[in-house]
Amino acid sequence: MATRLAPKELMKQPERLAPGHRLCAGCGASIVVRQMLAAIDEPVVISNATGCLEVATTIYPYTSWRVPWIHNAFENSASTISGVEAAYRSLVRQGKMEEKDVKFIGFGGDGGTYDIGLQALSGAVERGHQMLYVCYDNGAYMNTGIQRSSATPFGAHTTTSPAGKKIPGKQQFRKDLTRIMAAHDIPYVGQAAPSKWRDLMEKTRKAVNCGGPAFMNVLSSCNRGWRHATDETLEITQLGVDTCYWPLYEVEDGEWRLTYKPREKLPIEEWLKRQGRFRHLFKPQNRHLIDEKQEEIDRKWEELLERCGEA
């Protein structure tokens, strides 16, 4: 029997991510990792793309991982874990290892997934490995000091899309990776956020038990890059969900399903005004950018509702 998804039961399971890691105070990534690993009862093996999570949890001679863990390079977290999975199954076939229901998980940030690791990820899921790849999306290369990635939202200030006289922050809309992964026609694709922990945990369970490759995209706040106070992490994450910037949905065997519908869809300003990276958008000369952003979000939301049969 799987552990019931209730905090009172989950806290009795061994903690898989030890404290003492050097992620910033109020980091969203470690919340995502803790919640996801708490939802899995089976043994896990993890590969990690280069990024904040990898760097901060394994500063030599310390590691925060109480599960088998491997780092290879920035771009190949997905192919690394696919290789680990294939090697394990081969050893089991040869009778050299005991057969257990091991879950293979790859973690990467948006830089290591949307940009640098996209080819490796696409290949790994196409080959049909039984693995879950998780992207914790904080919308920029935060580890190296907030450079834009293809996940950075439109209008956001980063050090390589600086808001100033020449440009008002990032000028392109973000890449929709969840939909790209859904287009691979793999058994499970999900988009989640740690502010809805039960939804995140249920999706994690479905993903690791789908019998094939699975992908999850999880919104993860970075208070250094997003520019907000450390205790607002989950509140602002939830605003991202309630403004439909980050809708929560899943695609299970080609079946699209909305897992959370905001009672009232909030205007995007509610999310923008809480973060320093969007502060310049509220200047009179930039207000039209907020309208543009709202239009884009509305368009994508309508499209999603239609796909999920909710329109």
Binding site: P7, M11, K12, S30, T63, A229
Partner: protein, 121 residues
């Protein structure tokens, strides 16, 4: 920090063989704010445990109780207080009555230098 090892003493590939040994590393000294636990108010919902980025909520798994904070590792982000339903209730009440009842908060966040002022230690 332990004494540096010679190259012959380091495991092949620079692997770290002691899983989870980062507990030996203090991150508590980063803290500018400290969470203070109001035991009497706690309803043991474990929302703080569930959302702590630093695995720093101490729980008694037998009694199913929240015990306090691991101050050796807690970085003082304040997420525990922000997700606490008891705190939310108190703050809601304060909004209505224009008076904040600090003492009935389950988790208080206090500046490290002002603990004495607030009546602690």
């Amino acid at each position: 920090m332990s004494e540096l090892k010679g190259w012959k003493e380091i495991p092949i590939g620079g692997m770290i063989l002691d899983a989870g040994n980062s507990v030996e590393y203090d991150t508590g000294d980063w803290r500018a704010f400290r969470p203070v636990f109001g035991e009497a108010e706690c309803i043991n919902c474990f929302q703080c445990w569930l959302n702590c980025p630093d695995s720093s909520i101490l729980v008694d798994t037998e009694k199913e109780e929240m015990v306090g904070f691991d101050l050796k590792h807690c970085k003082g982000c304040g997420i525990c207080a922000s997700v606490c339903p008891v705190n939310a209730k108190v703050k809601k009440k304060a909004e209505d009555e224009l008076e904040k009842d600090e003492a009935s908060l389950c988790i208080r966040i206090i500046e490290e230098g002002k603990l004495q002022e607030a009546g602690y230690e």
